[in-house]
Structure formats: structure tokens, C-alpha cells
Symmetry: C2
Subunit: 254 residues, 2 copies
């Protein structure tokens, strides 16, 4: 039996947030020791879930707040008849479940896309954080706004772009986020999505996603092998997505 809770690497519950390896990445702003100690005191668990597991069930009312420590996840929303829209993808360092924690009923689900490690914070103590640590509260709100910004992009993509443009835009967006985390090596990064997940994120059918995807691949936009995606023509992909290059400002890590 493969126990996902005690996998290959050691648990980090005891390990110090002060020494958090994520925090060293250039994507994140520096924090005072006080803030980090507060975060550490608030952290009640370090949890590992296998790919495909639910992090937050749709409709859940007592969802905790998490930070994604490693792996990928996605937020999604389902219609009664089974159609599903993937709202956005979550990468290491992203908050998981802020909306569910604040609104006290998840209108969406969150699922692990790969095996994930999560830092667990009790939702009850979010209020504490607002009272005692306004800097962290502000950053919580900031991260919420940033997620909204990503969803704005996706909505614009799904509402206005053609199939190939949507694929280009999604790849570029994930590429940039992975890059900021230092996950890109010579233009390539781990890309764990199935075509069904791609389709659900793009608002396209599985078949049409597959056809458009391989057309772009054959056109030399990118390559996929061994679960890693390599951008062969970033400039072109950018242009196809009609995206300007953007800033690489640091963001908070909580």
C-alpha cells in the first residue's frame, strides 16, 4: 500500500516556515520574521494528496485555507448535467480556498492535478489574522485580487478568442507563471494536463481541442514529450494570443 501521507520525502510540519524553500524564489516578496512566525503558528498541518483528489468539494461549508506548496491544482465549476468549466489553475505558492473560506460555502470545487503538498491553515483563524496582522490581511486580499485578474483573462479568452488563440493564451500564461517560479528550463516546463482538462479549461470540446492542439504542435509552436512542454516560438505564441509582455513584480507568499 502506498501511503500518500508519508511519501518519499519527509513531512514538513515541523520544518520552519522561516526556512521555506518556496520563499527563496524570486517570485515572492520578502517578509519580516514576525510575519513568518505568525504564518507558522497558524499552520496546523502539511498535507499530501494524490493527483485527482478533491482539495475542496463543491458546496463544502467548512473548507480550510491552504497554500499550495508543491504540485498543480485547478478550480472548477460543474453544471447539473455534467458539463464542467475549469476556472483557473493553481501553481506552487498560490492560495487555495480563499473564496470558499470567506464566503463560507464553496461555489466551486478544487482538485489536485498532480500530487500536491498543502500547508493547511484553519479558516477560523483568518479573522485573527485580520486583527493582528494587517500586513498579511492586506496580502491575502491582494492575492484574492490577483486570482480574479487571472480569471478575467480566462473569461476574455473563452469569450473572445478562437480555439488556437485560446490554446496559445493558456500556454503562454502557464509558461510565465512557471517561469516566475523557476520551473522553466531551456523553454520547457512540466505540463501535466490531459486533453479533457485542457478542453474544460478552454470551453471547447475534447475532439476539437485535440485537433487544434496537434495542428499548433505540427505548425512548430511547441512540442510535448515526457510530460514536458517546450515553447519553440514564444514570440509567435505571444502574438497569437494577442498578449503584450507583462511585468514580473513580486507577490506575497502566505
Amino acid at each position: 500500500m502506498h501511503d500518500t501521507h508519508h511519501g518519499g520525502r519527509p513531512r514538513r510540519l515541523g520544518a520552519s516556515c522561516l526556512a521555506c524553500p518556496l520563499r527563496l524564489k524570486s517570485a515572492f516578496k520578502d517578509k519580516t520574521d514576525d510575519e513568518i512566525r505568525f504564518i507558522q503558528a497558524m499552520k496546523i498541518d502539511h498535507r499530501i494528496l494524490r493527483a485527482g483528489a478533491d482539495i475542496i468539494h463543491p458546496g463544502e461549508e467548512e473548507a480550510e485555507l491552504y497554500t499550495l506548496f508543491s504540485g498543480w491544482a485547478f478550480r472548477y465549476k460543474s453544471l447539473p448535467d455534467g458539463r464542467r468549466q475549469i476556472l483557473n489553475f493553481l501553481l506552487p505558492g498560490d492560495l487555495v480556498g480563499l473564496q470558499a473560506s470567506l464566503l463560507s460555502a464553496a461555489e466551486h470545487g478544487i482538485e489536485a492535478l498532480t500530487e500536491v503538498e498543502l500547508c493547511v491553515f484553519p479558516r477560523k483563524r483568518i479573522w485573527d489574522l485580520f486583527v493582528k496582522m494587517p500586513t498579511l490581511a492586506y496580502e491575502l486580499a491582494w492575492l484574492g485580487s490577483r486570482e480574479e485578474c487571472l480569471i478575467d483573462d480566462n473569461l476574455t479568452s473563452v469569450g473572445q478568442r478562437s480555439a488556437s488563440e485560446r490554446i496559445a493564451a493558456l500556454i503562454i500564461s502557464l509558461y510565465r507563471r512557471a517561469d516566475a517560479l523557476g520551473l522553466v528550463t531551456s523553454n520547457s516546463f512540466a505540463f501535466p494536463l490531459t486533453q479533457q482538462q485542457l478542453a474544460d479549461a478552454l470551453g471547447l470540446s475534447l475532439v476539437h481541442t485535440s485537433k487544434t492542439w496537434s495542428r499548433l504542435r505540427k505548425a512548430g509552436l511547441f512540442a510535448l514529450s515526457g510530460g514536458r512542454l517546450t515553447l519553440l516560438n514564444p514570440r509567435l505564441t505571444n502574438r497569437m494570443a494577442a498578449i503584450y509582455d507583462q511585468e514580473g513584480a513580486r507577490r506575497p507568499l502566505i
Copy 2:
């Protein structure tokens, strides 16, 4: 010359937030006098803009934070070639520009759909609010999450629903929000959208929006006259949108 800043009704800058008529609506949670006084002290202007005016320009870096006091507005995002996606609609009591204030650069624009009245708060004092008024800070974050929730719905609609389903979902959603504000009389409410704006919100072409819209109208789903929309078959519209009935919980008004 018609001065939009001194229209028919008197300015309310001097008027007390304690006596704010919006606050009486059943949609909003009660606040302590302390909180209301803090809000009032933070309010620096009461501004009136005509329909079509920009409240926040795309890319604006010094956007203020507003509360929509009366009228409708919408957030949108444009692509370089002119395509435009309306992200969500703003009704009285909604915060305007929170994302732009926190992220310090608007990735979107916000435009007045009708003539609007806005309570203006300086973005610089948001930080103040986090330090001195954690209850209000929490509610600010709450309202941000609620907006994200609305956008999640729209994304799901645009990504998964057919043209008629999208129209049904949009109408139901606006109907409910208007209802919560007491703006619905005998199943009808003011509906100021042009078909172009409808199309941009639904991710459909103008022509197809018009055809589908009038098909649903002729099918007896709803009627539109004198700028007011009347829901003739709410049950059916709900079912078409595949939406379950939802809660009517109170929300904060800042």
C-alpha cells in the same frame, strides 16, 4: 450646458453615511456607528458620471476605490484588435475598483452603463483601513471574493452554455441581484443594456445575440418595454440556465 456634477438632485457629499438610504435595503448587513463613521471620514467625494463615461480607464495606475451608489456599470477587458469582453456588471452597493486599487494597475476598464453616482474613497487610505478597522478590511476581502464568484459564474456560462442558456443565466442573475436591492416590481426591473453590450457579456456576436434574444422573447420567457424587463416565466428561465435557487444572505456595504 448640462453640468453632470450638479444634476437635478442635490449632492450628497455633506449628507451622512449614517443616513445612507442604500444601507436600509435588506440586502446589506448592519454596521456599527463606529464603522459607518470611519467610512464617512474616508469618503472624499460623491461623483456623478453620465452613461458611457469611464470610471476606471484600462491600464490606469492611480485608480481610486468607489462604491456604486446608484446606477449600473460594468467591468470589461479589450484585446488589441478591438474585441471586448464584459466581465461582470456592477449594481448599487457594489465596490468599484478594488482589484485596480490593490494591484495598482487596472488590467481592465470600468464603464458607467447608466448615469451613476459614486462614493469616492482614496486608495491610499485602504491601508489605513486594514490597520484601524479589521472588520471593514475583512468585508472588503469578502466583497472581492463575492465578485470573483460572479465572474466564476460568467466564465462557466460562456465556456459551457449554449446561446439561449447564456441569456437565461444572465437575466436570472441580474434579476436576482436587482431583486435583492428592492429594484424589482411585479417581476420587472430596469434593464439598460444594449444588444452590443449583451453580446460582449455573453461572448456571442451581435447578430446571433439579437436573434436568440428575440426568439426567447417570442417564446414567452420575458418581455422588454420602456427599458424594463419583465420575467414571464422565472421557473423556466431558472431551469434553462440550469441554476438552483440560492441563498439571500446579507452582504456588507462599504
